[in-house]
Subunit: 438 residues, 4 copies
């Protein structure tokens, strides 16, 4: 890591809101304490290796645009090591404490499985060295089970048993490497686990195979003593017409049905939430409500287009809503805020990667401070508590304690005159939120 | 039921595809046997009392347009009886064997709960008489927990314990009446069970209260000896910004979490599926896969507009896909095809109600015959079986039987050369489907 | 206007961002000068009579909830006058300088046209009096051509010539009244001008009739000497499956085709823009680019639901983008910011109307100050200018001045080496925007 | 063209609806006369070179899957000639009479413009030979102004004058080649003409440059004597967040504003229509209504996903609606039905290309016959005529002839009693449509 790849860009420093320097933090001050924790420990920012280091910014209508001088495009371990060097330089300059990767991001897919495994092992040695040098940790690892043509019809839901076996072998090795690197978690994103048309699909068989796949992973995890957290990442459509893990509720339903819930938490991504037509705070609340909010893929989408734009988050309203859910559940245990976001195809210079991450980090720092203040002040919270207060006493308490029956409630109801709940005050609360945000 | 309300319209007869009479069936021939059952026993068509009898065709931009000479608009038992007479005349003329209602469709909501209960009982006596006279059955009953202002913030998820109690009392009475009328089921559609903004909402508390509500219903059902099936009806948005029962998976997840799955099946509605961005056949397959497909609300939406248009189904592709799922699961046990659809606001004459239902019935009759032929021919089914055949032998069988491990699969994978699944042949299968449909 | 209707609520005062009083302005300070104009003259806030005064907050799933003690629901001139008194009290307390109405908001629709006209005239006399007393002005008037059943299939595009004639008569009278009240404009929102299915529709005939309708309006305007601005308001769907005036481009195309562009400007509404899958700033820019941005209906929608939620705007990003377009075109000439927004159905008390409008006014005040600062600083503007600078000199200038030909450009191109545009810097610009917003 | 590439697949023959041969036409019988024209002359099917010959079926989540033994992937004229041979073999076997291409589909983009031009010329010679040998014609040509990184920020709307010049040079040469090959048309699809964010965009300048670009094309067309039709192809989003040519109305508005309408017709694509939330028949009707329906890109999308899936059309309802609009406007003059559709990524074998095109051709053949019968029978048409009959006489006729005024209509209106239009009968008409379709 002697050579510098992001030349001309120094370590990004906190300079406060008044600075004119665009390569500085205005709000993110890693060591600043908010509540009882440092900002960096609240937010646990992570670099997404695939987007930051490997994405060429190609799209369905054109080739890659991104300048990546550290990557010669060759499928060699040497190139992979150089990319890793650049990646760690990038993380250090930004002060990112974590990263996440797919096996095929950090190391090349080669002609056969053994060769790919060997390459991954070789790069992993290098990554371990870089982690030690920098103190940067692996937030989670995963296996890329969607890019290779063999996975065109799914991996753990492929109609081909051979493809299924290769997928299993690939996950096994990715888990080994994640374990070796001290990864804090391992993520399953369903890639192409879904279908294009029911005409050729046996959904029951496919989801059954998927459940078995995850059970094997649980078994293997025990066997190797990997203590990291398993995550499932919901996404509704894309690339399949229908993805099985379409939203938080669909994932939880699947995990409950197949007795897997104790072994998995959810990794919620903003743009995946909005593609499912849910606000991201809804998905976070659903996951947290089930005790299953594990980690967050921080990005944003464009609600007016229908695909996963994976843009960098700069909307402070959204960051506030997200950190509010995070603080309410007591903060991250094993997960973090992973920037699963890519610079726009038109933003092709290395410095754009910095602008993008600085903006995301500042936005969440701002959101954190706002959310913390909202919770400290307690005004919103008191409103909500008061709104449901009728369930804390009298007839309501019999509901809360599970003692009410249709008969007991009817008896109460027959004695009531006209009843209305209090005004929901949505507009007033939105104004109140603006007091904090602005 | 002596007076005729749909004057000038005779009983609708099957006249075959060549007829020029628009008030005749071209495809639906109630007594015709398809496979081992009569059409009417396969399809179990039901009239939705609220849309067919009570909907005025108002919309957010204008008042009612529909001509309903049988309904003077008064909140009296007398008017309710007359509407019931018209409804049964309508069902008889169409040959509909079932109907579904909300308590407040068949009887008026009056000033206090006792008065409303009494009115409902009085009308129920009349409905029982009409059922006996005609042989028409109650497919399911339900309580309207969304129209009255008291329910503006939910019923079983209301922040007001008094509103919750009234809702419970209302469901209790609606269950009593459904039981008395020999109803084959009882449906819970979440009406306003959801939220407009998380700023004022305690989702955990609301869904907990909802679960308790359903447990009370299960208890009460046992107590009164009601044997009908309980249904939950998923819907994603509308009227709330977020409805808790957003799709089949969300409902199943909720039922599993709260140990309610054994007591409930799902009532799947086409337009609710598409609002959740799922094909209706997907939702049917998800429900059937969980052993929980109970009944169907037959309608269709407009995928290019974003609300529940509840149009009458006339698309034979869709009807084919739906009946295919229905036949695959062995047909209806307790449910049926309930036309939860309304004539367009511009189609305001009584005869339009006939056109609409005739179209829906013919469409599903056509779909049924096509789906039956698809299953008889077996070509689609064979394609699917073959596609997954690698899981019936060898390494695949170890997956199917649950014996495979990551290690055993890796061992297999390391010996494989390049592997691809067979072509998915979506285009060929869509062409094959057209052979049946056209 | 002696009786007070909004009792207990005083005139809303500017108290600055630190106040804890929720019935106060934090950012809107009417007399404060921003740039060269007072805030009130920049923003020209207007009350939408239909939502603020007449909307009962019913929705397709339930009846009205709103408390409107000033409205006894009777179709009388007396009631209409009382509602007007309440409306002017409301506007005065908020400091709203303008209002907008439909004929049927301010006065009842009675049994025949002459009676309705007379009622409107009678109420108009009262409105004129209130305008004089308060200094509040009519921003624009319009005729409600969508609520009455006769308009179920359109008004100026109705298939019935009689309906068309009634619509014309109604607009004629609404224009008369608007003129009499010194209205600064008159708006045409296409209500039900569109279609539900092409199967029964002659689009060419309908749009031809619509064009003639607007030409008659232009003629009549000249005849009576009305100098107010005519506006067309785009909306894509709802209530029709397809509305002819679907977005700004569709309106401009129609106006150009029928030689009406010189007589009309556009009234752009945020939620209508997003329903057409455009950002509101796009629609504003399209309209302004054609010299046709006239007025704004200020509200917001929920991009994740598919209908016109007409919520009050509280998002400062959006208000900033909107005022930025407004300032760039030099501000309003005849139009204003009309709060075409309704309180949520759950916010049913009169005080909620205040919270809602205060939030909207503060949000736009904040947006105005931010947008003004953005323009003063000029940094964003300089970025854009620089981005296109290659068109200010050399070969680019031949394009700008229209002298370039394919041949001249080819000659230039053949001499070029590899060419890329400069980075689009979207992320940096979004960060820069946050510097202003936060 | 001696070597056979699609080995084992014979010329696809018409075998009628009963055949079990999946590589046969069931409905498309090229020489069969429908009305006064042969099917092939009605439908004028065209192969889209980019999808059929060059698309590798990669997507944003994975690499290409498609087997294309004729294409070695090299950027050589030799390879390009071989692909052309395969393409013409394919078209001959299917009986496709036309094809469409981008310059960069048929020939490689090389290091500099002159080399690319030379390569295109060399391949064009070969294409001309193949056209002569087979009688297949070029329906339209176009230039690919979106794939190369230089076009990342647009071509005719690029902020770089050099990029603009290269785009102009490329179109000039593509027009030359199209002219040389006897192309019947030339299409402008806006590729990346749009924007990602208004923060960095001068929309007025960009659209002004685009208008100048098209005027240069018109000039150059005259100069070289090219008589083919110019087409603009609307598309709303993708790849840009906002595309300028978002729908038919937006294109027409642009063409009218810049005095280009006489020189351009529209090329309407189904999936682009639905992405704009319009039915394709709406877009066809809008274009035809303006005398500007030129050609059709035949495909279909999935309304429940939000991107351009470009699937092969197999829905007969849709094909019926489309051919209905086509027949009503008197059929194609210069355009045709170009299969701008790709096989699914999972359908990767050459034979899948045949299945896909056979399905599309059969579907439109079926649609044509149905639409022809609908028009012959005249029942739908009579319904529509009757619906508007009140505009053919009396007061309505004064509207139709432009003689009505607000005063004359008010006079009429004041004498009317209650008025309603006749029922819209949408359900009956949908049933009637099913009589034809099934």
């Amino acid at each position: 890591m002697n050579q510098e790849y992001f030349t001309g860009i120094k370590t990004i420093a906190y300079e406060g809101p008044k600075t004119r320097n665009r390569l500085a933090f205005r709000h993110y001050n890693a060591e600043e304490v908010v509540g009882k924790k440092k900002m960096k420990d609240h937010l646990r920012f992570s670099m997404a290796y695939w987007h930051a280091m490997k994405n060429t910014s190609s799209d369905p209508f054109g080739g890659g645009t991104r300048q990546r001088p550290w990557d010669d495009g060759s499928s060699t371990v040497e190139n992979a090591r150089r990319v890793a060097d650049a990646g760690f330089e990038f993380m250090q300059k930004l002060g990112l404490g974590f990263y996440c990767f797919h096996d095929r991001d950090v190391a090349p897919e080669l002609g056969d499985l053994q060769a790919s495994n060997d390459a991954l092992d070789a790069v992993a040695d290098h990554l371990r060295k870089l982690q030690r040098q920098t103190g940067i940790k692996l937030l989670w690892g995963t296996a890329c089970l969607f890019a290779h043509p063999r996975y065109m019809q799914g991996a753990a839901t492929s109609p081909s048993a051979d493809v299924y076996a290769i997928a299993a072998a690939q996950v096994k090795h990715a888990m080994d490497v994640t374990h070796r690197l001290g990864g804090l978690g391992y993520t399953f994103w369903g890639g192409r686990e879904g279908y294009a048309t029911l005409l050729n699909t046996d959904m029951k068989r496919e989801t059954g195979n998927l459940a078995h796949f995850l059970h094997m992973a649980v078994e293997y995890k025990k066997k190797i003593g990997f203590k990291g957290q398993f995550y499932i990442e919901p996404k509704p459509r894309e690339p399949s017409t229908h993805q099985y893990d379409s939203d938080a509720a669909a994932c939880l339903n699947f995990l409950r049905e197949h007795d897997l819930l104790e072994h998995f938490k959810l990794n919620i991504e903003t743009n995946h939430a909005t593609l499912a037509l849910h606000r991201v705070e809804h998905e976070l609340a659903v996951a947290a409500g089930a005790g299953a909010l594990g980690s967050i893929d921080a990005n944003t989408g464009d609600e007016l287009v229908g695909w996963d734009t994976d843009q960098f988050p700069t909307n402070v309203y959204m960051a506030t809503q997200m950190t509010l859910q995070l603080l309410k559940m007591g903060g991250f245990k094993t997960g973090g805020l992973n920037f699963d976001a890519k610079v726009r195809r038109e933003s092709y210079e290395p410095v754009d990667l910095f602008h993008a991450h600085i903006g995301g980090m500042d936005t969440f720092a701002r959101g954190l401070k706002i959310a913390h203040r909202i919770i400290e002040d307690g005004e919103l919270d008191r409103f909500v508590k008061t709104r449901y207060a009728s369930f804390d006493n009298g007839i309501g308490k019999t509901v809360t304690t599970g003692k009410a029956t249709f008969e007991s409630l009817e008896k109460h109801a027959l004695k009531l005159g006209p009843v209305l709940p209090a005004s929901g005050r949505q507009e007033m609360l939105e104004n109140l939120l603006n007091d904090y945000v602005l």
